[in-house]
């Protein structure tokens, strides 16, 4: 089903000539501006919240990868869910023998959007980093990659919570837009006060998908604690999402025909 959805989304995205290339220009412009901003900052200071220029750029890289990943599946699907429930098209999904929550979460997996919109901007950051100035431990990198996956799950769950009020109130696009800061919170993990750090990982997972994995990969945060926090956030928010999803389906009234 996942494969078919990816192919169907690809077919949808390539159905129109020259569609979506405006996003590439927009993201490249954003990245260049950001790189200039970082260069200006680090021309005056050696470290920021314990992060050097290259560590900061590495954080930006992981933030960008996460942002485009999140955009290409979680946000697109949450937005589509809101639209479908609002217009009553969700009826046609609910009458299919599908696990509705899983299917609603993976209906649009836009690989093209990730590659086309995300890759050029990501390449700029990759080439801007002086990799010889960064040191990694293989185990820490592996833990960091696992934490990125856990962070994606936590963020997707949290993001869906912003979409689900549509089942009660008929619309939640506006609420869903609140989730933008979650997808590109590029703050050095160690620069944040410890209690707030836990809240921003477990409760509002703004730091779960990029800041925490980067801190673990760069050896700036304890690996075991990091894994506990990251996977704890994924588990906790997934359970909350499932409970609220069940309640949402009970409240679904469908749109009038």
């Amino acid at each position: 089903m996942l494969g078919i959805n990816i192919v169907n989304t690809w077919q949808t995205e390539t159905a129109y000539f020259a569609h979506g290339w405006g996003n590439v220009l927009s993201t490249v412009a954003f990245t260049i501006t950001y790189l200039v901003f970082i260069s200006v900052i680090f021309a005056n200071v050696h470290t920021l919240a314990g992060f050097t220029r290259d560590q900061m750029l590495f954080l930006l890289l992981v933030v960008q990868v996460n942002f485009y990943l999140m955009w290409s599946w979680a946000f697109n699907n949450a937005q589509r869910l809101v639209d479908d429930v609002n217009r009553g098209n969700f009826d046609l999904l609910l009458t299919k023998p599908l696990p509705a929550l899983f299917y609603s979460s993976v209906r649009n997996i836009s690989l093209l959007q990730f590659v086309r919109d995300g890759l050029p901007a990501i390449l700029f950051v990759i080439f801007a980093i002086q990799w010889q100035h960064l040191t990694f431990q293989p185990l820490a990198v592996l833990a960091g990659l696992l934490l990125i996956v856990a962070g994606q799950i936590a963020t997707q769950s949290f993001l869906l919570l912003f979409a689900l009020p549509v089942f009660w109130y008929g619309q939640s696009s506006d609420l869903l837009n609140l989730s933008y800061p979650l997808m590109d919170a590029d703050m050095p993990y160690t620069g944040i006060q410890p209690n707030l750090r836990v809240v921003l990982t477990l409760v509002v997972p703004a730091l779960a998908s990029a800041s925490l994995p980067v801190a673990v990969m760069l050896g700036k945060f304890d690996m075991i604690s990091g894994l506990g926090l990251g996977f704890g956030a994924a588990a906790l928010l997934s359970v909350i999402k499932m409970v609220i999803w069940k309640s949402a389906l009970r409240h679904y009234t469908s749109a009038s025909s």
Binding site: M1, I4, N5, N8, Q11, T12, A15, Y16, R87, G88, N89, D91, L92, L94, T95, K96, P97, L98, A100, Y169, R250, Y252, T253, S254, S256, S257
Partner: protein, 326 residues
């Protein structure tokens, strides 16, 4: 034979927020309650074609939604082939198909064939069976040439036919249709009605149809269930409904020189009066005598006897139901 659908005293009440003010709505929501369906019971046998009929807001679509498991009844219960629809068991969902005239199941940006490929995988239909069934359905509905066209480029009629194929590609035992011919031209409507009749007969599919179009109902269904203000006011065959109104006939007269309204009203109820002719509703038992009297008094150019149209019958049903409830 056991019924395939059983609805036992089902009711549905919708709760909505009356106070939409962002601030005061939090502690003073003022809930409104709308009783969309009140205590309806019915049974549908396998292979039957049943129409749910009623004015806007009567509760037809709500009843369909309860039968398809989209919403749960507030009271009572629905059973379909042993399943409770709202449990949305995959085995139940594989047995039903749903067509909604104003909602799109096919992806607008893709061709119908690309959307059907997704359906094939959702319902796990073996390739050979899928190909054969798609070919048969596309030929029956004359849309083979449109299978590979992007859906947004198709006419409404072509799109609706393809939506219909999407709803039955998995060979359901029950097909729910909500206004399937809405907005279509006469030819497309006719094709869809013939198709529905054919699959009902050939494949013994149970059809549950809601429509405002009397022709849909007359040409597709054998039984009609009339709902008004959420309650059932009639449940019997279409033939029985027509028989009930056989006591009345419509007679259309075209006069050489049209008489005044007052001169005609003594013969029966004047349904229409315009320069092209007059339509009178006359009691069947006195019809011959009345026609003879009219033709002896006035010079007639033409005359035609018609049954009371189904629309009028249904309207009369609603009037009778409203009177008895008040």
């Amino acid at each position: 034979m056991k019924p395939i659908i059983t609805a036992h005293h089902i009711s549905k009440t919708f709760k909505s927020r009356g106070n939409r003010n962002l601030v005061t709505g939090l502690w003073r929501p003022e809930w409104n309650y709308k009783h969309a369906v009140s205590d309806i019971s019915f049974e549908i046998m396998p292979g039957e074609a049943v129409a749910f009929l009623g004015p806007n807001g009567a509760g037809k679509t709500t009843t369909t939604k309860m039968m398809t498991g989209l919403i749960a009844p507030t009271e009572g219960n629905v059973t379909i082939n042993g399943f409770t629809p709202f449990d949305r068991s995959p085995d139940f969902l594989r047995q039903i198909g749903l067509v909604m005239g104003n909602k799109a199941g096919l992806n607008w940006d893709l061709s119908a064939r690309q959307s059907f490929w997704l359906l094939q995988n959702i319902y796990k239909i073996p390739q050979q069976r899928f190909d054969a069934h798609l070919k048969k359905l596309a030929e029956l509905l004359d849309v083979t040439a449109h299978l590979d066209t992007q859906v947004r480029r198709l006419s409404l009629g072509e799109r609706m036919k393809l939506e219909l194929i999407g709803a039955i590609i998995h060979e359901p035992t029950i097909l729910f249709l909500d206004e399937p011919t809405i907005g279509l031209d006469i030819i497309a409507k006719k094709n869809i009605r013939q198709f529905l009749r054919q699959i009902q007969k050939d494949d013994s599919i149970t059809l549950v149809l809601t429509s405002h179009d009397m022709d849909d109902i007359e040409q597709v269904c054998d039984r009609v269930l009339v709902i008004n203000h959420g309650t059932k006011i009639y449940d019997n065959s279409l033939a029985a409904l027509n028989d009930h109104y056989k006591t009345m006939r419509y007679v259309r007269f075209v006069f050489d020189k049209q008489p005044a309204k007052a001169a005609l009203e003594e013969f029966g109820e004047l349904v229409t009066y315009d320069p092209s002719g007059v339509l009178l509703q006359i009691a069947t038992e006195t019809m011959i005598k009345t026609i003879a009297t009219i033709s002896s008094r006035f010079s007639l150019l033409d005359m035609r006897v018609e049954s009371v149209p189904l629309e009028e019958i249904i309207e009369e049903l609603f009037r009778t139901a409203s009177k008895s409830s008040s």
